[in-house]
Symmetry: C2
Subunit: 380 residues, 2 copies
């Protein structure tokens, strides 16, 4: 293998695939990035067995030469050092040559690097995926759906299925659900040209979805998603992102979501967020994060928290609408703040069915998001 | 105590004094900030016994009312929560009232806070300092002198005196020295109006100097420094910063600095820094950080590092000047990068007296800074 390649293009692709490198892997070949060169360009691959990412650098793009291929070939190079050194090379032009025993020579300006390469034959082969079930979704919508659900996944490895986000697609409606048994987030979006695709119980690791989010560019990009038996493949421009589907059956959460309420509030999102944040500051010192919400006789609400050592915070808040019974309820303020951070609507609808029943938060201007928080049982 | 105070002014002073709060203190009263109100304004004080910081908020500034004092008094409030909550209060106006048993009420907009205050009589009294030895120095110069020396202090608590920066002043020349026995940094500056002040062996904790740096504003400020028996007091605008002087005698470092060289180089700072940074990336993987510098026959130099597992980086670098004998020397590249980060000169002079003798780095355009790095003994 012998090529000349432009630094920025190589660096961009390395940054993409390096997201699949795990610092904790015990398999030596997986600490590396595989480079495969043919006359079409360079393919970079990295994998931690759960995620695999592949990026293609074309030899030519828009009539600009990016890679000059003198001799095709392939090698696996140590990721951690390779990722750091390429971006720091002194010249825009990089020469790479693989010699006997995968010894790799990298030259740029007056920098000479000699790297111990590994045999690319040892690198795991990526799964071949049947492209039967394919959907296409705008990149920013996918990123949003991830952001608005993934914070509710469980971090407990004892229930691995809950560390993922549940995906369902039927009747062209794509739905994400995440829950850690104390709270739940769900987000749906209608898809175009998805009439003939249908799947259920596809669960993707939340950690994987966070990594995926970082790769989706800010500009107008579409992401193609191929759903197969135990893998999902995301196609983003010239990047292929493979993720394992989590094993197991996701619990049925449809029955825990109440559909009618005893008390309903409509509130300003920002003001509620600031009030709860102040009450949270105190409750955090108690390590409980418990904040109390209670309706007052004058039609406003009171948000409060207290700490035996420090004191007490009391916030009075106006509501835009208030229907139903008076209420006094306690909840984990951190969970509520997590919801308020990702909600884009200026106003929120909060529904309650009693002090021991789930709290339901929805943006008022759309019906595609729903957040559930279980209250705390408190004695007073 | 009962006052109305403007949020931004209170917050700014809290941020200053909070730098003296240690999260590891075992003395309950020192987890708090003391507020003292009289008709001139509010004095805030915090202390971890090594550092004490006091900030004054005047009742009126430039004819603008900052504090309306209804009733003087004082209280100690829990710092961690107080620091966070004040900046998040909803209104620019804050009302504070201390009632029986130091119960403190804070009101702002529709937020009500009740805090358990502590008895201000329990708060340690700040040292009274004789103002015999006073010097005045531009804030940005002091910040620079700290930045250019403090990185060389020792982090080992086994030699406490070396965790500080040594100060000497004689003949109006102010000198900072820091060393961890493997490297040394020194910086001098001439002072105005300091003919009658003279001190030596004043050692101030590097950690303290870093905190002090954060308080010195960017604008044109002068800092007055009062040096007393076992304390140094810094006066910065309306902030008083007290620091303990470290006990012990600082080692004499004057003899280890060579004055003539066998090999001398003049190099471009940025290019040297980038070359060493690339070599460092590889040596870091070996956990040694060892980089080799060697003069070549064509008048250039070679910077290189190698790792048995990964390979080797070789950099060729042009020099502006080269005098003396050929040389081959190894050193800790992290130490060299630390120096190159704080040097402001575009070109550097590096002097060598042999492969086992100290390396001396100086900026070419001024003689006020000097850096010393001990080489590594290597077998090849």
């Amino acid at each position: 293998m012998k090529i000349r390649i432009l630094k920025n293009d190589l660096n961009e692709s390395i940054q993409h695939v390096s997201k699949a490198i795990s610092s904790r892997t015990t398999i030596p070949i997986l600490t590396g990035i595989k480079l495969e060169v043919n006359f079409q360009g360079v393919i970079l691959t990295a994998s931690d067995t759960d995620i695999s990412i592949q990026a293609f650098i074309p030899a030519e793009d828009d009539k600009k030469t990016i890679v000059q291929v003198e001799r095709p070939g392939s090698v696996v190079l140590p990721a951690k050092f390779f990722v750091e050194i390429i971006k720091k090379l002194p010249s825009q032009e990089i020469e790479m040559e693989v010699k006997d025993g995968f010894q790799t020579f990298i030259r740029s300006g007056s920098t000479d690097i000699q790297l111990v390469g590994l045999d690319p034959e040892e690198f795991p082969v990526l799964p071949s995926i049947e492209e039967d079930q394919v959907i296409s979704i705008p990149g920013d919508l996918l990123r949003n759906m991830i952001k608005q659900t993934v914070f509710s996944i469980s971090t407990q490895e004892t229930t691995p299925i809950l560390t993922g986000v549940l995906w369902n697609l039927s009747d062209s409606l794509f739905k994400f659900v995440a829950t850690d048994r104390h709270r739940l987030a769900s987000r749906t979006a209608p898809l175009e040209d998805a009439d003939n695709v249908k799947f259920s119980n596809i669960v993707i690791s939340g950690k994987t979805l966070n990594e995926l989010s970082k790769i989706i560019p800010d500009q107008n990009t579409r992401v193609d998603i191929v759903v197969a038996d135990n893998q999902v493949l995301f196609k983003i421009d010239r990047v292929l992102f493979y993720s394992r589907i989590l094993d197991g059956t996701y619990p049925d959460t449809s029955k825990i979501i109440p559909t009618n309420y005893k008390t309903e509030l409509v509130l300003d999102t920002k003001k509620l967020s600031e009030s709860i944040d102040r009450a949270y500051l105190l409750s955090r010192e108690e390590k409980t994060n418990i904040v109390r919400l209670q309706t007052l006789e004058d039609g406003t609400i009171e948000i409060s928290s207290s700490s035996s050592e420090l004191g007490k915070v009391t916030e009075q808040l106006e509501v835009a609408e208030f229907n139903g019974d008076p209420l006094r309820i306690s909840f984990n303020s951190k969970y509520m703040l997590d919801v308020l951070k990702v909600v884009e609507s200026e106003q929120l609808h909060i529904g309650f069915t009693g002090p021991m029943s789930p709290i339901i938060v929805k943006p008022v201007d759309e019906s595609r998001s729903l957040y559930l928080i279980l209250p705390y049982r408190t004695t007073n």
